[in-house]
Symmetry: C2
Subunit: 406 residues, 2 copies
Amino acid sequence: MLYVKTPQEVLALIQNEFSPVAEPEIVALSAAMGRVLAEDIAASEYVPDFDRSTVDGFAVRAGDTFGCTDAIPAILPLQSTVLMGEGADYPLNPGECVAVPTGGAVPQGADSVVMLEYTEAYGDGTIGISKPAAPGMNLIFRGDDVYPGKVILQKGRVLSSADIGALAAIGRVQIPVVKKLTVGVISTGDELVPPEARPGPGQVRDVNSPMLEAMLTAFGCAVINYGIVIDDEALLSETVKRALWECDAVLLSGGSSVGVKDAACRIIESLGQLLLHGIAIKPGKPTILGKAGAKPLVGLPGHPVAAYFITKLFVLPLLGRLSGRDMTAYTVTAKVTESISANHGRAQYHCCRLTRKDGALYAQPIRGKSGLITTLAGADGYFCIDRDCEGLPQGAEVQVTTTSGV
Amino acid sequence: MLYVKTPQEVLALIQNEFSPVAEPEIVALSAAMGRVLAEDIAASEYVPDFDRSTVDGFAVRAGDTFGCTDAIPAILPLQSTVLMGEGADYPLNPGECVAVPTGGAVPQGADSVVMLEYTEAYGDGTIGISKPAAPGMNLIFRGDDVYPGKVILQKGRVLSSADIGALAAIGRVQIPVVKKLTVGVISTGDELVPPEARPGPGQVRDVNSPMLEAMLTAFGCAVINYGIVIDDEALLSETVKRALWECDAVLLSGGSSVGVKDAACRIIESLGQLLLHGIAIKPGKPTILGKAGAKPLVGLPGHPVAAYFITKLFVLPLLGRLSGRDMTAYTVTAKVTESISANHGRAQYHCCRLTRKDGALYAQPIRGKSGLITTLAGADGYFCIDRDCEGLPQGAEVQVTTTSGV
């Protein structure tokens, strides 16, 4: 029995009905930014591979400096000077010191480095040290950063620039990532014309195709845009079949009138299994989800704002599920700048602008009817009013999901 | 007089010393996602260009339905049926109704649409209406979304998928964006080997080049990687000169030992003007900033974690300034999972993992010495302890900048 589901039920349905399907592939480190890791990454060596100074100074045995002061420095013969990028393959003699640059290797036996500022070269081959060292001071020991077998990045992670740096540090330049999912986008509706066309009487431009293509591409998918298909069930069915053949997932957008919605349901049922017919949120109620084999087929609302929210809230998590991608996301807390009424019984989403004033963050809802794309333009994020909430007073705190970049 | 500056002073210096220099260019709508708008975008037409129904139903004059009920419906002759994608270029006769699909045009004179659910077709050419309409109900009027001259997106904005949708809606498919900045990245240090090499004694892999390349590319720059240059002042000076010729900004990374830092200063002074020598933050103090003509030349610390923070906190805002880019960013509030001590006098940055538990968000600091790249790996964001703060107790709230995607 299909009925209108809550957002939580839809997300649970996605987890239960779909599994990670994306295959792994190897890419170069320089192409790995933003990709999803296909396996845990463990180090196979020590980083650094030698004891390393973090300052310019003199490597010593700390005990040789105990008790020294400005007035009574410890005077240590300079045994040697370590050059940058070269090893220090000799032990430090007790009672002596070795000059080391920042990042330079420290000889065996040295347990600390005294900063240049606390030393004086007497010109006779000895160094005066005016501040005692503690063992471990100004040193990174071999393997402090990484040791063989240590997992540094987990499967499913979307690689950031810091992660790219960590991979470089351990010498991983061939990175196992999840293959990009290919997503097909189909717009349907006799009233639609392409964005570059001037709409005639009763016509509107196709907003959903370019918007979805931009969002899915930024999310890391390859997109095949099948363009605008007129409201003809046989033609639409053929296009959906071809898209299911060529893609990992298919989004059918439009069909906001009852006839087309019914056609979309019939197409899904003829090709696979209908899982969902309607979500209790506003905007976005008339959403359809089915699967043909392991491939999801989503019927999105035609209204651009509704299509936007449904894609953000459910389609991206669905594609994340297919990729085995970590979908953790964070929200910022802000105060609403005006009171908002809400429909009891449906979670209600609002786009907003964010502004900071006297250190506090404010969310200004962008008003508009659900078909109006300019409620999205210039939005910094969105927040939700729960289904069991009848509205928010001015100044109430909301959790805003920011949308820059996607 | 150059002295160590606070982060606020450095950001002010960037605003004062540099100006937007990037040229505009035109790109197709499908290539505009993530780009920076070069000018305000105003609509040149009405969207929608006709009065439009938001439901399947019957367009009426609201007055003709006043007082109707289930028991005593208003009975209106059906004048005509509007088809999707066609105009309704006739006036609605008083006392009659017109069938319209969702998104369909509504004839002149109609001021509301009654939903299908509240109507019954009697089969004799008349429609029974059981719920009165209010003027404006279930209608989007011409220009409700956009009217000619309305600015929908402002110069400097980084285009999101919602913005792409808005541009499609108004028929803008040639988008004026700011040309990508070209940034040169140079690593210097005799101890550095490329990530694919196995370091010999005293050597380490070059982490900064691939990390910076990934971060700058994700930020929307073109990157020229000049590779690793050995610590030779003449050679380094030649490479910097070539990079300044080929790029809009140059990052010189490494040179963590005193000698190389001095060389970097001399190179900047020989090619232009030294603006800054040292920032009061940890990690990242040994940072140099200069300009040659209008082009910034940044000397980054060699330690990868320090180079990471300096790039995030100062280089990206600097590149944003050169592009005229809106750099508004948001933080999430989280509670630290353990107490942290801090050095009085320097703002101190910590990478952290974010976890959610019982609805609250927690920031777990990732411990490590500043040269250790794995304090970055797997980080979800970072927070700052102010220079006049001596530490944070467990459970204290911090503002975390999340780092996924950059």
